[in-house]
């Protein structure tokens, strides 16, 4: 494959929950997605070049802390569990969206930091390689950083490329053809079917015992950053399944080095932002940074 760019229309914007209501979040998302070419069904993505699309439902449950988001198969057969976005007065949400994908997050408070639940959410229908066109007839994913309406911060791609942090909590959903999965563990390990991004990196994990530390091969010998395709995979129907690669994120790349979040970067002629924050890697996860482009 190679990096896949949607060609837009792109949205790179913010909205503020001035009063701090759930409805302000719903309205902010709807406005951004409409600008990015989504249609209001509830809200449906554009159709990818490989004939994939998905629906997303943003709603105010009428009580509780958070606005809620669900993804739905385009035929309406399956609806995911809830993911949560927590409003508060004056909170600014960032949005990058294209016709097939959306990232929402806060910089203040930092959505990568524990306790700031309900401050990151992303969803999309992926790009496919040629050999999966017609084989995959519908596919969608959603990843948040909360496992409840009133707390339970979990890691996301703000933290590392698995969208995990530590070893015990996650929150995501996915559908592929007619197989569906909701994952909202409390105190469980990262399992074979858990959602992850996949990059190109060294075939050995973990910082070295001697030397400068950190993962090897983060850069070319002239310090050029290695960029790789951001593939996305998960177990199709059960957490005990073998995770398989479903497709590729749109308008994204994975840099093999660690960067601070929210830096402006350029990839070729495309402008983007660093989504992952200072992911230097560990013995169980590679160093690297998800970059999301908005042009």
């Amino acid at each position: 494959m190679s990096l896949r760019f949607s060609g837009g229309p792109y949205v790179n914007t913010t909205f503020t929950t001035t009063v701090g209501t759930r409805l302000e979040i719903v309205n902010g998302i709807v406005s951004a997605l409409t600008s990015a070419g989504w249609s209001t069904v509830t809200s449906a993505s554009g159709t990818t070049p490989e004939n994939l699309k998905m629906n997303v439902r943003m709603y105010d449950p009428g009580s509780g802390n958070c606005a809620r988001v669900q993804i739905k198969t385009p035929d309406g057969y399956w609806t995911s569990q809830d993911s949560w976005l927590f409003p508060s007065a004056g909170r600014v949400f960032n949005v990058i969206a294209c016709p097939y994908q959306c990232f929402i997050w806060t910089i203040t408070p930092p959505s990568q930091t524990s306790n700031n639940f309900g401050t990151f959410l992303a969803w999309g229908t992926p790009a496919l390689p040629t050999w999966l066109v017609g084989y995959t007839t519908q596919c969608g994913w959603i990843k948040g950083n909360s496992n409840g309406d009133s707390g339970g911060w979990v890691g996301s791609w703000r933290n590392e490329l698995s969208g995990w942090s530590g070893e015990y909590y996650s929150h995501w959903s996915g559908f592929w053809n007619h197989e569906y999965i909701d994952r909202n563990p409390a105190n469980d390990y990262y399992r074979s079917g858990d959602m992850t991004l996949v990059m190109q990196g060294p075939g050995f994990t973990g910082p070295a015992g001697n030397g400068v530390g950190g993962w090897q091969g983060r850069r070319w010998v002239d310090n050029t950053i290695n960029l790789s395709d951001p593939l996305i995979g998960w177990g199709a129907s059960a957490i005990a399944d073998e995770a398989r690669i479903m497709g590729q994120l749109w308008d994204c790349a994975i840099a093999s080095d660690a960067f601070a979040a929210d830096l402006t970067v350029t990839i070729g002629t495309h402008n983007g932002t660093t989504m992952t924050n200072s992911n230097t890697g560990s013995t169980a996860s590679p160093a690297g940074t998800l970059i999301v482009c908005y042009s």
Partner: protein, 307 residues
């Protein structure tokens, strides 16, 4: 980048030592490298020096194969001027021992079928492919990896065992050099009971964002070894090592020729087709293993094409 194929000439050559002499190994490797388009710079019964063809990015290197008079046959890599010369890697002869050489104009692998277990039975070396932006920046580059830390014993893991030519027992044996217009360095790494260094030789593969855990909470494997329809990933095989020292940051020096890092585990010497190229599995049953200080290797198989 994408997989880089040399387009040959290729050698996939097996030879059996009749009496088990160092000279038989030297001549077997020389024969295979000649098939693959290498040039013999000099040749005697004690020392053979051969040179690769020049890559499209203007890199070349030399290999010295020699008989030290006792023990194993030895292999060294050198730059073309021979100002940079590596340490030794070892190939032990024995009567009726069969070795395989998979070679192209810029690279070779020589090994026995059981070299994942037996020391002094694996050596690989080459000068890599470069991306466009390093052409003229990197003027010389070469690498070599063996599976012994000395003549007559001391097995270390190699690409027969995994993507990291080293193991949990803290041994590795490799050399690498790189020259620019202003610098020229050779690293010789022959670690004996040492931790892995940040600049130690390793190759790239596809890497998921996290290794998985089993029910007992132990790291067990890595997810996403296949696409949803079962298609395997064949990732570019980049070569990483420190620039001037094994204690440097390991950086990507170039790309292995005719190579693909497959995300799926295969038995060594399995043959399959990669986009019209017949290829052989160098790595044997690498499901993931603890390595060096505290990490793990990613499961997968290094394939080398020979057509």
């Amino acid at each position: 980048m994408s997989l880089r194929f040399s387009n040959g000439p290729y050698a996939n050559y097996q030879f059996t030592q009749a009496t088990g002499t160092r000279l038989e190994i030297m001549q077997g490797l020389q024969y295979a490298l000649n098939l693959a388009g290498w040039t013999t710079i000099s040749s005697s019964t004690s020392t053979i020096i051969m040179q690769t063809q020049t890559t499209p990015e203007s890199l070349a290197m030399r290999v010295k194969i020699y008989d030290p008079g006792s023990g194993s046959a030895r292999v060294q890599i050198m730059n073309v001027s021979q100002a940079l010369t590596s340490g030794d890697c070892w190939l032990t002869p024995a009567a009726n021992k069969t070795g395989r050489v998979v070679a192209c104009p810029y690279q070779f692998f020589i090994y026995t079928q059981m070299s994942m277990y037996n020391a002094c039975e694996f050596v690989a070396a080459g000068t890599p492919a470069l991306p466009p932006w390093l052409v003229g920046v990197t003027t010389e580059c070469g690498w070599m990896s063996g599976n012994a830390i000395g003549d007559g014993g001391g097995l270390v893991y190699s690409f027969r065992n995994g993507y990291l030519p080293g193991d949990a027992n803290y041994y590795t044996r490799w050399s690498g050099f790189r020259s620019t217009s202003s610098t020229s360095n050779m690293i010789n790494r022959n670690a004996n009971d040492d931790y892995d260094d940040s600049g130690d030789l390793v190759i790239t593969s596809s890497v998921p964002g996290r290794s998985t855990y089993d029910e007992a909470g132990y790291q067990s494997s890595w997810p996403c070894q296949r696409w949803i329809d079962g298609t395997m990933i064949f990732a570019d095989t980049y070569i990483i090592f420190g620039t001037t020292s094994s204690l440097d940051e390991g950086k990507i020096q170039g790309q292995m020729w005719d190579a693909a890092s497959c995300s799926v585990v295969f038995t060594g010497d399995t043959c399959l087709n990669i986009g019209g190229h017949a290829a052989i599995a160098i790595t044997h049953n690498q499901t993931s293993y603890g390595a060096g200080y505290s990490g793990q290797t990613v499961p997968g198989t290094l394939f080398i094409a020979y057509t």
